[in-house]
């Protein structure tokens, strides 16, 4: 079995150390929009990255294959492609496969090949579990078993495009100006070591969940060990990967509403909990008792996205900057306000939430543009408390 950490954490540090800028745009009406403002906004924070990593997640880009999983796979070696395709053909019905279109970009050197496959698990393969579980199994098999192949993303009607370079360079290289999506997240990376690997750039993704992250998870060691009990192999050794798995475990597998997931990751301080009224007080005490090992400690600002929803979250004492703005139908989240103002000078609303207080952006569920069956990830009671672009 291959070891991804040899690519992503070549020096065997405790984890990969990095800093960055984040930017995200959600069209709350669910309309697919151009990513051009996103490219400009993330490029405006060039000083926060160092050109060794940039990436985007875009939702709503493959409406013609909305029922298929869109698998983005990166190949460092063409031989790996044969092996992956062999693996996929045994287990999936592939509706379409092609190389992700790129354009010659001077700043990009030695790019890996990136292919995409639109597919569905074939009947007869692991029928006893859900399609999602089968998809995850395939991702883990490829990532841990096939040399020189790595899955960028595996959700429906979405995709991750990333690599080594400034984010605007990646946008140009992957011809992202030709895509339209209703939700864009962007990341400009500042890894401390230069053996940056294309797969190590953000966003990180599992199914249609993506995470972009700024900061350092100081509790990484225990977060990771807790997740390992539930079968997550943290092969990339980055704190961002851990964040993605925390969300997957809590929101997808344990079906907790996002309002609780954010409270597990960034819970109120004990003294604040003690001031709360029942039953909220007891609920939070229980959450901290049960999920203490998933408290994400240290400075972080993170944007977690999946179909129909985007959540921005800071650590409890807000050690990383994060600002939000609403202009027309668009909700923006950014490390710096200037980037939002650059692309939307006249905002209807603008705020920086307190630490642990999530920014929640949602698309109206009836929106036709999505073309995706939205799974009920949040309970109805929870949803009743949510407003589009508002706070829980």
């Amino acid at each position: 079995m291959k070891n991804l950490r040899t690519f992503n954490n070549p020096y065997r540090d405790d984890k990969v150390f990095e800093g960055c800028a984040i930017f995200a745009l959600l069209n709350q009406a669910g309309k697919n929009v151009s990513g051009e403002p996103v490219f400009r906004a993330i490029a405006n924070m060039r000083n926060r990255g160092n050109g060794l990593g940039g990436g985007f997640a875009v939702y709503g880009i493959y409406p013609e294959y909305a029922e298929h999983y869109a698998l983005h796979v990166m190949y460092d070696d063409p031989a790996a492609r044969e092996e992956v395709e062999c693996y996929l053909k045994d287990r999936f019905d592939i509706a379409e496969e092609e190389e992700v279109p790129t354009r010659k970009t001077p700043a990009v050197s030695h790019p890996p090949q990136v292919f995409r496959y639109f597919l569905k698990p074939r009947a007869g393969w692991m029928d006893d579990v859900t399609e999602d579980e089968r998809m995850i199994r395939a991702v883990m098999d490829i990532n841990t078993g096939i040399k020189d192949a790595f899955v960028f993303s595996s959700g429906k009607n979405m995709g991750v495009f990333k690599g080594v370079g400034h984010p605007e360079t990646m946008a140009e290289y992957f011809r992202l100006d030709e895509y339209r999506g209703y939700l864009w997240t962007a990341h400009s990376r500042f890894p401390t070591n230069s053996r940056a690997w294309w797969g190590g750039a953000h966003p990180f993704s599992i199914l249609d969940w993506t995470v972009i992250h700024n900061g350092e998870v100081s509790s990484y060691g225990i977060n990771r060990r807790y997740l390992e009990m539930f079968g997550y192999a943290c092969t990339l050794e980055t704190d961002t990967e851990v964040l993605a798995y925390i969300v997957d475990l809590l929101a997808r597998r344990q079906r907790l509403p996002m309002s609780l997931v954010t409270k597990i990751m960034a819970p109120p301080l004990w003294e604040e909990i003690e001031r709360m009224k029942e039953p909220e007080r007891s609920e939070l005490i229980k959450l901290r008792q049960v999920y203490g090992s998933l408290l994400v400690n240290g400075p972080f600002a993170v944007v977690i996205a999946h179909h129909g929803e985007m959540i921005g979250l800071n650590d409890r004492i807000r050690l990383r900057p994060m600002t939000a703005g609403i202009g027309g139908e668009n909700l923006y989240i950014s490390s710096e306000e200037a980037s939002i103002r650059l692309v939307c000078p006249e905002l209807d609303e603008f705020w920086s939430p307190q630490g642990g207080d999530p920014i929640v952006g949602k698309v109206k569920l009836e929106t036709p543009a999505l073309h995706v069956p939205v799974r009920p990830l949040v309970s109805d009671e929870d949803r009743a408390g949510l407003k589009v672009g508002g706070l829980i």
Binding site: E272, P321, A338, S339, R341, F350, P353, L391
Partner: protein, 267 residues
Amino acid sequence: MLPEINSQLPILNPQPPTGEVAQVDARGLDYRELNRRVDDLLASGAGEIEIRGVHGQRYIASRIRRPVNFRIHGTPGNDLAAFSDGVRLEVFGDAQDGVGNTMNSGEIIVHGRAGDIVGMGMRGGRIFIRDEVGYRTAIHMKEYREQRPVIVIGVMGQDFLGEYMAGGVVVILNLPPRNPKSFSRPPAFIGTGIHGGKIFFRGKLEPYQTGKEVGFDCPDEKEKELLNGIIRDYSNYFSQNLDHVIPDDFLKLYPKNLRPYGRLYAY
């Protein structure tokens, strides 16, 4: 073959310029180009600098050491006027993190909001922010001899306002917020570790909102005079009617002890 260090001190012409207003279009410039252009304009005699189209450029006015007026349109980037000494700077828009970081003297007026650590380690001068500010405002602000920094916040600061504060004055006017979403819960840890200076807070505070080092009092007559002056300046700067804001509505937060950590150690 490498050049030796140049330790000569003055960079700029020491005479305050008397010249005209110089215009700078910041669009598309990175901060080094922008700040160099400002240097050049000042060296060639400009008396006031007006910068338009600012979109996140950092360190504006940070190496200027004399009373130059700046008018900034757009969103200046982090560390606005960091280490500055004497500039008067007006921002027509919002400011980001690190406004007036380790500033020595001068005045910054922001017609909007500002991000985190406004006036961090500031030693002198005044900062007026029309709206709300982020985390850790006035952290480790200090005073020295006749230098007594002042930060005035029109709305409210988020948590850890005045943390480690060692001197100077912070005034919170507690006017209605531009967006209540920035304050989903009342700000907490105000003045935690404070060991110098004063915070004047308009309105009420629950005890839990402040650090344990904070004492409460009403402003005395002299302080009310100071507050009256600040209220007047605020309403002039931002053309707002503040007749309803009166010094009697302010709480004074002060350090109970100049040595908050006296009992922490075993000698």
